[in-house]
Amino acid sequence: MSTNRQAAAASRWRIPVLFAILAVLFILEGTVRNGMFSGSWNTSLAILNMGLISAITALGVNMQWGYAGLFNVGVVGFFALGGLAPVLISTAPVEGAWQAGGPRMLIALATAVGTLALASLLWRHMPRGKLRGLALTVLLIAGFVLYRGLFDPAVTAIESNNPARHGNIGGLGLPVLLSWLAGGIFAAAAAWAVGKVALGLRSDYLAIATLGIGEIIIAVLKNEDWLARGVKNITAIPRPVPFEIQLQRNPEFMEFANSWGMAASTASGIWVKLCYMLLFLVVLLLLILLAELALKSPWGRMMRAIRDNETAAEAMGKDVTARHLQVFILGSAVIGIAGAMMITLDGLMAPVGYNPLRYTFLIWVMVIVGGSGNNWGAALGGVLIWFLWIKAEVWGPELIAFLTAPLPASSFKSGLLEGAAHMRFIAMGLVLLLVLRFAPRGLVPER
């Protein structure tokens, strides 16, 4: 018992201390210039901003894994779907696109959804047997033919509308912050559909299903040009913050920058990044607050019970399926929000970039290193791992230069130095293994 209390006392300080260390890393990155750090606030803040987005993503994954034990390996898919929101909600409408095929497209999509809904009704309400199978097949085939009949011409029409520049359906021109919410909703809707189908699967089997769904979502984003130009990318997505150039042309800001003794470009860069940082921080803290409130209450207890033993939780009256679906949707929504935020930050939607290594596994690393089941841990892991991932680009080659320094010049040494870029992976691997070694349950363990 006494050991318990000691552990509790230790963990009370653990979180602030770790966050303080993290803050120091970023301050060093912003101020000190040597082989390890760049000494640029712009760099430091840029890393931090993406780190905050990663932290939110990690938070979403943590909800699914840490609270409920759902093994979602399709993170990249939900993240990408969230990224679709700024494109569809906030970019300017594309002239002629809607007239070309908008309504037809909506009807086609409605047909598809309707067919599926009808099919599931049929499945539930018809008695078992051959007839049911037959009816279902006929319905699905008819629905598919009808859908393709409506869908294909609509796609052709939209995509042939100025394909070099547009060829997509365009956005609604709404404020970009709204699209963050929409990103969450997109991802949540997909999660609902996926969850309905796949949540019956356990652990690694769920993993492969979600992995597949992630790949499918990415494939759709890449190949359905009418949606967001596919691999041809959408650029110039609106921003919620001023452009650096605008600031540089603003005399007041210039004066302000001068009073700090900073060059215009540096100051404007920092300013913009600080604006983003504030926005991201607000979102992150709000989400953590909500998550903590939920987790530290009977809801969270119920989730842990379900994670520990589904059969028993079910026998104790908890609707495991519904809860799984709920938390899967919530977590995905959070991932979607993060996805929308990243696209806003990048100002670019490039589906080719969505690769699972970066947007699924790296996020998983963040969650586990941070400490799964713990919101602060996940956030910490998110920022920290992102920092290391970026710094590994510099540290890797430094490391190998250091290691090979004593070697005499030879082709072996130059070969090693040439491969220095790959030290990025080695450095990342080492960091991961070291953290896991010294904090096997994560930096901030669940309890």
Binding site: S38, R165, L348, A350, G353, N355, I390, E418, A421
Partner: protein
């Protein structure tokens, strides 16, 4: 003064095998200028390497951010792939007012991007290559082709511009379908292409990626034996990989007539790397242009030298080949004019990209032969 330039190339990621030779190209130009001692009152130049990963826009942006704000580079050679190049240009280079010259980002989207005159590229937009390729194929009397492209903005953009040009000229495209890079197996793609048929297969992909995989599977199954290779495919690797198997195939890549390229390849050989590697020569030119621009402006401030780049790239002036950068510096310091030709016969059109002179190659007897320029 010590001036720094940065490279932002995909040293890790799907094009990791292409990046090193590009880096070497840039290094060669930097070294040549730096060692000449004639640059901006004896300033030295150094090159800072950055990893753009080719695929991950966020990582590329972070890299360029570091190069600019932390390393303080005055110009960037990169990005490598169009998507990532656009992201880092819009998010970092333009806000910070730094010049970026990409050796290899060829997406048509970059022609119209808002860049404040900061972005240039030593490769042409793919919009042009489509036309050239269509001409070449038509002239061979082939009217029926299947197209497979790597599923990114480069591949798709090229495939679309080619399709438009080719059908315009009366040809037929039996299928125009994508392949993903880095997949384990391309049998399905080849099966589909073969079923669609066609007298030749246009492979708008990367030679050390899915492009080769598709060619391999197509050869093995006998689906096609004539291939058309655009820039992502043309390279020594193609000859090494397939040798006589692709007898009778042909292709084109941006590279201009003249000794420039041969000189560069020789220089590269002396420096111990392969100068024929895709976009390696373009990287040399990109670095040279930035530095010569600085020399012409007499300043390393991007806001000033960005204005000079079009001037030095085009006529009038004395033609400058690779290895003659010292001479160029001399001319510039005397206030003369130069017309940088470089390794790829640089000729810039508005808004600051290579006009697009292509070299037509064919594969006979296990060798790649240059048959003409257009």
């Amino acid at each position: 003064e010590e001036i720094k330039l940065g490279t932002s190339l995909g040293f890790t990621g799907p094009l990791e095998s292409m990046a090193p030779d590009m880096q070497k190209g840039a290094e060669l130009a930097v070294k040549e200028i730096s060692d000449s001692g004639k640059f901006l009152d004896g300033s030295t130049v150094s090159l800072v390497q950055g990893d753009s990963t080719c695929a991950d826009a966020a990582a590329a942006t972070a890299t360029v951010e570091r190069l600019i704000t932390a390393e303080g580079v005055k110009g960037i050679i990169g990005g490598m792939c169009s998507g990532e190049a656009i992201a880092s240009l819009e998010n970092v280079a333009v806000p910070n007012g730094i010049v970026m010259i990409s050796p290899s980002a060829t997406s048509p989207a970059l022609s119209t991007i808002e860049d404040n005159g900061l972005f240039f590229r030593t490769s042409p937009s793919d919009a042009r290559q489509g036309e050239v390729m269509a001409d070449i194929i038509m002239e061979k009397g082939i009217e029926n082709v299947a197209v497979t492209y790597t599923n990114n903005d480069y591949g798709k953009g090229l495939a679309e511009s080619f399709e438009a040009a080719f059908t315009e000229k009366g040809g037929t495209i039996t299928t125009n379908s994508a392949h993903e890079d880095g997949k384990a197996d391309y049998s399905a793609e080849v099966a589909a292409l073969s079923a669609a048929g066609g007298d030749a297969l246009v492979v708008a992909g990367y030679v050390d990626q899915g492009g080769s995989g598709v060619v391999r599977a197509a050869l093995d199954t006998g689906a096609f034996d004539t291939f058309v290779f655009p820039d992502g495919m043309v390279g020594q690797a193609l000859v090494d990989n397939f040798g006589e198997e692709i007898e009778g195939s042909f292709g084109q890549n941006p590279a201009a007539e003249g000794e420039g390229r041969d000189i560069y390849v020789k220089m590269a050989e002396e420096a111990g790397y392969d100068g024929t590697g895709a976009f390696s020569a373009e990287s040399y030119d990109a670095a040279a242009l930035i530095l010569l621009g600085m020399a012409a402006a007499g300043s390393s401030d991007p806001a000033e030298y960005k204005e000079k780049i079009m001037d030095i790239a085009n006529e009038p002036g004395e033609k400058i080949l690779p290895g003659e950068l010292g001479k160029a510096l001399d001319i510039l310091s005397e206030g003369g004019d130069i017309d940088y030709v470089g390794a790829t016969s640089v000729e810039f059109v508005e808004p600051g990209e290579s006009a697009g002179i292509y070299r037509e190659v064919s594969f006979t007897g296990g060798e790649m032969e240059v048959v003409g320029y257009r």
